[in-house]
Amino acid sequence: MPAESIVVDHVSKDFTMQYHRTLKQMAVATARRLPLKERFRAVNDVSFTVEQGESIGLMGLNGSGKSTLLKLINGVMRADSGTILTRGRIAGLIATGAGFHPQLSGRDNLYLNGAILGMSEAEIHRKFDEIVAFADIGKFLDTPVSHYSSGMYARLGFSIAIHVDADIFLADEVLAVGDRPFKKKCMAKMQEIRRQGTTIFYVSHASASVRAMCDRVLVLESGHLNFDGGVDEGIHYLEYDDDEETDEALADGELGADI
């Protein structure tokens, strides 16, 4: 009987957008009666439960709240209302890239990241070679990560996160910058941890890979969870497979502006 791995209950997250940062700007804005700040709801009343070992495809357009939702699940952000509960160790990459310190070498960042993800010193020592081999960064290990190419950066980040032996793995468009062989290696590795029963959250726009990787799809649309169900239905939902309506929309004209 698998237990719940993630419970998200009526979660909302607001962002405050502040337009003016200096006193002078604020004074000018007040004089002109412009708004000083605006609230924006990135995640709106989202609820779902994930069982241990499930593999979830999180889909939706850019700006629909996917990364925010993942940040809430991994604990970087706190929900403004509602509760999130998780079980076990969480690892993963959020918003294309790991939290690396730019001035530190790859080696230092590896240790630091591993420790933040909950690995002990002995565990990091034990997995060190494996992580470096998978990341394939070779002699750049002792170079500051600010000099890395975006591909190397992503490779090291992914390699650390996937070797953490986490109970929940979050992959947020992480592989967007990798090259094809590396992507393939990563997908294989993700399938491997999926097989071992790790809960996976996979964000991707590529329907074929979501189909192969996931058991269930969640679709976020401007902060609302509008679909929660099977993979094929989810992809179908996102594609809105109704061509007539699209032609109509094109004829409508007024919509053309937003292309």
């Binding site: 592989l175 329907s207 890979s209 929309a249």
Partner: protein, 340 residues
């Protein structure tokens, strides 16, 4: 009637607007899917799926552990401290020496100006030790406070993407400050030994009390200001300005007896001066390091008669402040990732 009609049209317009937006989004989504359809290689699952037993409770991914959680993550704290030290001295020839050169130069200048030219100490015996004791602990305080204030901002790459108890950054800064202050304390101890320091229980008690106040006070300020500095960078400038004054607002370049004379005429100025926990800390530390090098008669007038009472009250105040600071930090912390 007309109002109802108007409402209806408004609702209709809203509905078409909604569906229009939806269709537009649908088209965007389809185009994106077309473009990305084969951007990701497909790897199928191989072998039977295993079940993973996780023997942990369902908990919040962002527990409000605060300072207590920081001390559970000792390995991470150690890494952050050593990393911060390494970063400080990267590309520097003299490295760690810099944290001695600066205080040494400052000591020489202060000693020359206040001890030789102005003679503000009014015949305080072992004035150099009196001054140096104060400087060591003021240095620790200013480094913890100003470094701590910048710490969250400086580590924003991590704060934005990884889940860590964020109090760890101000705490790490305090450890770095302690690392720098340690050898200075050693120099201080050697100087004491040379000048005929002798053991006294009261001295050690004063030192322990002073250290407790110092740690609580500097940690509280560093928590409060590191959180504020995320929202407004002005705070790091404010801190820098105040720390410059701090050297002059503790009894180290001049003696306590001068302040006592001031207190006879201006009670409020005296009370205001000693409302500063750092002034109390410096006196307690002088009680440990400087006083035992003298005869009791020589330092009798150089400490307030209520040194201990004040010390314990100040410790209580600073513990309260630390509690408030932790609460304040926890409240603002939730907004760090979006404001960095």
């Amino acid at each position: 009637m007309r109002a109802a009609n108007k409402n209806l049209t408004a609702a209709k317009r809203h509905a078409t607007d909604e569906s229009g937006r939806r269709r537009n989004a649908a088209r965007k989504a389809r185009r994106l899917l077309d473009k990305k359809a084969d951007s990701m290689p497909v790897v199928e699952l191989e072998g039977p799926r295993l079940e993973r037993q996780v023997d942990a409770d369902l908990i919040s991914p962002a527990p409000r552990g605060g300072l207590r959680e920081v001390f559970h993550e000792r390995y991470l704290l150690k890494l952050i401290v050593s990393r911060q030290l390494a970063q400080m001295y990267a590309a520097s020839l003299l490295g760690l020496l810099w944290s001695y050169i600066q205080p040494a130069l400052r000591f020489i200048v202060y000693f020359f100006v206040f001890g030789v030219v102005l003679k503000t100490h009014g015949g305080t015996p072992n004035f150099a030790l009196h001054l140096f004791t104060g400087m060591v602990f003021v240095h620790y305080f200013t480094e913890t406070w100003s470094g701590g204030t910048r710490s969250i901002w400086a580590n924003r790459a991590l704060v934005m993407k990884m889940r860590v108890p964020r109090e760890i950054f101000p705490v790490a800064t305090m450890m770095v400050a302690a690392y720098h202050t340690g050898p200075q304390v050693l120099i201080l101890a050697i100087a004491c030994a040379v000048l005929g320091w002798h053991f006294s229980l009261a001295g050690f008690a004063a030192g322990a009390l002073g250290l407790a106040i110092l740690v609580c006070f500097s940690m509280s300020l560093s928590l409060i200001f590191s959180a504020l500095n995320v929202f407004f960078k002005d705070f790091q400038n404010i801190v820098q300005t105040v720390t410059q004054f701090m050297h002059f607002l503790v009894p180290m370049m001049y003696s306590y007896s001068m302040l006592a004379r001031l207190g006879e005429h201006h009670r409020w100025a005296y009370e205001l001066y000693f409302a500063n926990p750092l002034a109390e800390v410096v006196m307690l530390m002088q009680r440990l390091f400087w006083a035992p090098t003298l005869k009791p008669a020589e330092y009798a007038d150089e400490f307030p008669p209520d040194l201990w009472e004040r010390g314990f009250v100040m410790l209580g105040v600073c513990l309260g402040l630390l509690f408030v600071a932790q609460r304040f930090f926890a409240r603002l912390e939730g907004k760090f990732p979006e404001r960095l």
